[in-house]
């Protein structure tokens, strides 16, 4: 993004101007104070206390927001190593809410909230919803799953906070989703972008009269998407689509969101410090350079995560003030990942999980490829597996049985329905050194 957009796509409103439009100098001073508090809370967690002590860091040594760069990183594995609540800084009795990662496999990452955390989270969500056209008189259909996923209840609280009506349809069952849209005429839809594409296809192919639904806005989250998808859905349904960002490890949605000028997503800098680092040297990069987002929530009481390495790649823009009046920095869309994690229909999948599933069926694992595509609205995954002597039989029913078992194991491990395609021996590419087993043709680059 070079030029700044100066034309709003709809009316500009701000939920908490006292925080969102703070003069930058005050904002930086506030960040310094809050960062010191965050480090104080982190000192209650043995994991952080040990790391901080080793580095000679005490809360008193935090003088400015920029001191964040001296703090230790937190990685996804640290949550696993300290499962279930080892990174939590408060007593059980102070926890008011648990949410978790979508993790359909193994153990989720638990994200705990105190009453204050839940309260602030509602405002964070209200900020990007209001920023993206949602008004108290609106009805908002939530088609995110309600459950551990931070998206469902997070947005629910935000909508409640801003005073709009909640229509909690939850995920799945497109016919029912469309029925709700027609009968209760919500103005706003909340779902994953790929689900929006599916709903759009169903609406348009069903020959529905556009005037039978009242949608004006859609807020997307849970998976990366592109400007091309935005254009397709906005043109297809005649609505405005909005992007926001957040992750369970740092409290869920509400970290950043777009304003009506669409110059990237405004980072809620009163409550988060977002850095961009070089994923190899781990050194912070200047604004405007592409790297990995590293997030430090400043106000979270229950889970004071320091410098969380998101593995998401993007840019923080430094090209002047946004016309909306917010003084906060803006971040780009997610442009990629620094690890091999795939986000498929909103679910995080690592190729290693796929390998685990294959290993459970005869000796299917050694040679395979994962193909991810988006032929229609939804992501599709095909796992190509080379037939090995141990799994080959002259009986067709046995071969089909193996295929069925592979599909079942893949579902058990990833929670996703995948296609399995058996291919001849020695037909897949062989790798020297680091393998590239994933072929993603969804074109999610920005």
């Amino acid at each position: 993004m070079n030029a700044m957009n100066t034309k709003p796509v709809t009316e500009n409103r701000i939920w908490q101007p006292e925080w969102e439009c703070m003069p930058r100098q005050e904002l930086k001073a506030l960040q310094a104070v809050r960062l010191r508090e965050a480090v104080t809370r982190a000192m209650r967690v043995p994991f952080y206390r040990e790391k901080l002590t080793k580095l000679g860091i005490t809360p008193e040594k935090i003088r400015s927001a920029d001191d964040v760069r001296h703090l230790p990183f937190t990685e996804k594995i640290d949550f696993r190593d300290n499962y279930p609540l080892g990174l939590t800084a408060v007593e059980r009795s102070e926890i008011a809410r648990f949410q978790g990662t979508s993790g359909t496999t193994g153990k989720p990452i638990w994200t705990a909230y105190t009453r204050n955390d839940v309260d602030r989270w509602a405002d964070l969500c209200a900020r990007f919803l209001v920023s993206g056209g949602v008004r108290p008189e609106h009805t908002v259909q939530i088609s995110f799953g309600f459950g551990l996923f931070t998206g469902g209840f997070g947005l629910h609280n935000g909508i409640q906070r801003l005073g709009a009506a909640i229509l909690p349809v939850s995920s799945g069952n497109s016919a029912r989703q469309i029925m709700c849209m027609q009968d209760l005429r919500p103005e706003v839809l909340i779902c994953t972008p790929s689900y929006a594409l599916k709903l759009m296809d169903d609406i348009l192919s069903g020959g529905l009269d556009r005037s039978s639904i009242a949608l004006e806005h859609a807020h997307f989250g849970g998976e990366p998407w592109t400007e091309a998808m935005r254009e397709r859905i906005e043109n297809g349904l005649g609505i405005l689509c909005w992007n926001n960002y957040g992750m369970a490890e740092c409290g869920g949605p509400g970290l950043s969101g777009e304003c009506v000028y669409r110059n990237g997503m405004h980072i809620q800098e009163d409550q988060f410090i977002v850095e961009v680092i070089d994923p190899d040297s781990l050194e912070p990069l200047p604004y405007g350079e592409k790297g990995e987002f590293v997030v430090t929530p400043l106000c979270r009481e229950a889970l004071p995560t320091l410098r969380y390495r998101t593995r998401d790649i993007g840019i923080i823009y430094d090209n002047g003030e946004c016309a909306c009046g917010r003084t906060t920095r803006r971040m780009s869309r997610i442009m990629g990942r620094t690890d091999d994690m795939l986000i498929i229909r909103g679910v995080n999948v690592f190729p290693s999980q796929i390998e685990t599933a294959l290993m459970r069926v005869e000796d299917a694992a050694p040679h395979y490829m994962i193909e991810v595509s988006r032929p229609g609205a939804l992501d599709e995954v095909t796992v190509l597996i080379e037939v090995q002597p141990g799994m080959f039989s002259d009986s067709m029913s046995e071969m089909q049985g193996i295929q069925t078992r592979l599909v079942k194991e893949l579902y058990a491990v990833t929670g996703l329905q995948m296609q399995v395609k058996l291919v001849g021996p020695n037909t897949l590419e062989r790798f020297e050194g680091k393998s590239r087993r994933v072929k993603d043709t969804r074109n999610l680059g920005c």
């Binding site: 037939v387 002597p389 080959f392 002259d394 009986s395 067709m396 029913s397 001849g424």
Partner: protein, 145 residues
Amino acid sequence: MKIHQISLFLENKPGHLNAICRTLAENQINIVTLSLADTQQFGIVRLIVEDWEKAKEVLEKSGYVVNVREVVAAAVADRPGGMSEMLEIIGKCGVNIEYMYAFALRHGSEAVLVFRFDKPDRAIEALKSAGRDVLDAVTLFGEAK
């Protein structure tokens, strides 16, 4: 009384079957008969050749996954009703046919049926006691020449 059948995994792509046949031809191995089972995605080719051990060796050397299975070959009269009589014997002894294929011999008035049974020994016994010819390799390949 059983004969060896080799089977190979086959991708549904042009030229794949021929590649197998070419490998056998280059090694002077004659295919007595073959059958194909296929889905939309892949197929299984099953072959009866005289020197199955050599065939397995050369195909594996060429990178194929080869499965060897004992099957039952039985002679059947090459006339209307011949097949049905045979199946009746098998049906009565409670054996299930997993798959089968047939081929006609160049000489004589008999055809050969190749069976994969779930209980091959019981089927062989039933066929024999009904007076049917269950062929061993020597007879089969002798007749095929």
